[in-house]
C-alpha cells in the first residue's frame, strides 16, 4: 500500500520532520494534485512490474480533504477517474478548509458560517448549497463509489474500504467519508464528535449509499431514513453546532427541504438503476 495525501490537516499533523506517523510508504506533494500523483504512482507500479525492475503488488490510496477534492483538486481527481487508474480515493470531508482556519469550501453546507463567509446582518453564512461531489464522481462511471460516516465504522466503513480495494483491478474507487471537525463546526466537545456525525445520517443530512457498477444502493440505516417519519428532526443536528447558531427556524425548514429533495433524487437514481427496495 502507498498513501498519497495532499496538503491538509492529516498531512501537517502526521509528517512533521523528523517524525512520521506513517508505517506505510507515504507521499505528500501539493494541495491540488492527489489524483495526478496517485495516477503516476499507479502507472509506475504497472510499468516497473512490466519492465521487471521492481515486482510489487502495491495498492495506491489517496486520502484528501474536502478543499483538496471539491475545489482545488477536482480537475486532477476527474482526470484520474476518467483515465481509469486503479486507485482508491478517500475524501475525508469536514466541510471547510479547517487546516487554514475554517474557510468556506465547495463542501461547506448552506448557511454554515466560516471565516470567509461569516454570518453577518446581510449575508447569512454560506449562500450556496454543498456541492454534490458523489454525483460528479458517479458521472465518471467508475466501478465503485460510496459515502461513509466516521460514526458507522465497524461494518459500513470497513466493508466499503474492503469492497473498494477489491474493485481496483477494474478501475478507480471513491469513498466520501463525513468527518466532523469539532473546532470548525463548534458548539460541542470533542468527545461528542461521533454523536454529531451519527446525527448527520440519522437526520438524512448525510445519507449512506453506494454506487456499485452503475447501481445506486442506499445502505442501512439510510434506507430506513428515506421515510421522513423515521428521521430525527434536522434541528437536533443543526442546533448542536455553532456554525449554524445564527439560523432561524425558517432557514432550518429550507435546509430540510433541500435534504428532502436530495433524498428523492437518490431514491429515483436507485430505483432507476434497477435496485429493488423493501421501503418503496
Amino acid at each position: 500500500m502507498i498513501i498519497v495525501n495532499p496538503t491538509g490537516c492529516l498531512e501537517v499533523t502526521t509528517t512533521i520532520y523528523p517524525y512520521t506517523s506513517w508505517g506505510v510508504p507515504y507521499i505528500h506533494v501539493a494541495f491540488e494534485n492527489a489524483g495526478a500523483v496517485a495516477s503516476g504512482i499507479e502507472a509506475a507500479i504497472k510499468a516497473l512490474n512490466k519492465n521487471g525492475l521492481l515486482k510489487r503488488n502495491t495498492r495506491v490510496i489517496a486520502i484528501a480533504g474536502d478543499g483538496g477534492t471539491y475545489d482545488i483538486g477536482l480537475q486532477a481527481l476527474s482526470g484520474m477517474l476518467e483515465r481509469g487508474h486503479g486507485v482508491l480515493y478517500v475524501l475525508y470531508d469536514n466541510e471547510a478548509y479547517m487546516n487554514t482556519g475554517i474557510q468556506r469550501s465547495g463542501g461547506t453546507p448552506k448557511f454554515a458560517k466560516t471565516t470567509t463567509m461569516p454570518a453577518g446582518t446581510v449575508i447569512r453564512g454560506k449562500i450556496q448549497k454543498k456541492k454534490d461531489i458523489m454525483s460528479i464522481v458517479m458521472a465518471h462511471h467508475i466501478p465503485y463509489a460510496a459515502t461513509a460516516n466516521v460514526a458507522y465504522p465497524p461494518i459500513d466503513l470497513v466493508n466499503k474500504v474492503r469492497k473498494a480495494l477489491s474493485y481496483l483491478e477494474e478501475g478507480p474507487a471513491f469513498i466520501h467519508v463525513l468527518a466532523p471537525c469539532p473546532p470548525g463546526w463548534g458548539g460541542f466537545p470533542d468527545e461528542k464528535m461521533i454523536e454529531i456525525a451519527r446525527l448527520a445520517t440519522e437526520t438524512g443530512y448525510f445519507p449512506l449509499y453506494e454506487w456499485d457498477r452503475d447501481r445506486l444502493i442506499i445502505n442501512p440505516p439510510s434506507d430506513m431514513y428515506m421515510d421522513k417519519r423515521l428521521r430525527k428532526p434536522l434541528r437536533e443536528f443543526v442546533k448542536a453546532q455553532s456554525r449554524w447558531s445564527h439560523v432561524t427556524d425558517e432557514e432550518i425548514k429550507e435546509l430540510e427541504k433541500d435534504i428532502e429533495d436530495f433524498l428523492n433524487y437518490l431514491w429515483r437514481l436507485s430505483i432507476g438503476s434497477g435496485v429493488p427496495t423493501p421501503y418503496a
Binding site: Y17, A36, G40, A43, A44, R56, T58, G79, R83
Partner: protein, 343 residues
Amino acid sequence: MSLITIEPRIKRGGIIRDRVAITSNYAAAYAAKDVEVDVVAAYPITPQTPAVEKVAEFIANGELSAEYIPVESEHSALSALIGASAAGARTFTATSSQGLFYMFELLYIASGLRLPIVMALATRAASAPICIHGDYQDLAAVRDSGGWIVMIASSAQEVYDSIIMAYRIAEDSRVLLPVMVSYDGFLMSHTTEPVELYDLDAIRRFAPKKIDRPILDSRRPITMGVMAVPDWYYEIKYQVIDAMHNSMGVIKEVHDEFNKTFGRNYRLIEEYRIDDADYVVITYGGIWGNTKRAVDIARKNGIKAGALKLRLFRPFPTDDLVRIVEGVRAIAVIDRAVSQEHQ
C-alpha cells in the same frame, strides 16, 4: 511525418545504429525511447506536442514499454511524474511556455523531493498576447526555480545527446535533481536535421536503469514530502543547493564519458574562434549557427570576433565563463528572453 533514413557517412565502431532526418522534438522523443523511460505524462502544447506524440506512437507500436498518462493538464503532468519517479520509475515529459508556467510550483517540489525527472522544453513566448512562436521567456522564468539542472541545445543531435546525458546526471547519487533540456520552439522543434542514433546497448551501458535511491516501496516504507519547521527546512533545502553545486562536477564527468563513448565534443560552454578574440558574442540555443557565421563575417572584415554558447544554464558555469572571456575588450550578449522591466 515519415522518417527519411540517411546512410551513415561516418561509422564510429558500430556505435551509431542509424542516421535519420528528424526535428528536435522527435530527437527528444527518440532519446526518451532509447533510454527506455517507464512513465510518460504529458499534455499537448505547441510547439512541444510532436515530441510527446512521437513517444505515444513508440508506445502504441510496442517500440517502448512504458505507461503513457494522457493527463488533463501540465500541472498534472508533472504531478504524475513526481508520483511515478517517487515510486522508482524513469520518467519523461515535455512542455512549452504556458505549460511550464502551469507546472511552476511543482518544479520546486520535484527538486525538493530529489526526483530525477527529465523534461524537454521547446521554448516559446509567454502570453499575453498569446504567441506560439519561439523565444526564451519560459526558460528565463525558471532561472531561479529551485534546483532544476537546465541545458540548452543548439541542434537536434544535441537535443538527443543531452537528454541521454540528462538521465545519467539526474540519477547520479551525488545529484538526484530533475533536469530540463531546452531547444528553440519552431526554429528547432520543427526543423528537420540529420541525427545519429546510437546503439541501444551502448546507451544502456551509458545510462543503465537502476533503482538505488529512496523510493516509495511497501517493503521499505518511507515518508516523502514532509512538513519541516524552519531549522529543518533550511537543512533540507541546503542539501538541494549542495547537490546543485556538486552537479557541476558530475555534469563535466558525464560529458567526458559521453564524448568518449559516442565520439562527441560537448562542453558546458562551447567556444568559437575565441583564442585571439577582442570581441565576444555570448548566446545560446538555435541561433548558435548564425552567430558563428556572423563571427566569420566579422573576421573577414578585420574584426577579431569570437563567440560563446552556453550549453549549461543551471547551474551557471560562472568560473568557466569568466576564465574564457578574461581579457577580451567587449562582450555582446544575445539573450532571447525579454525582461519587461529592463528595456
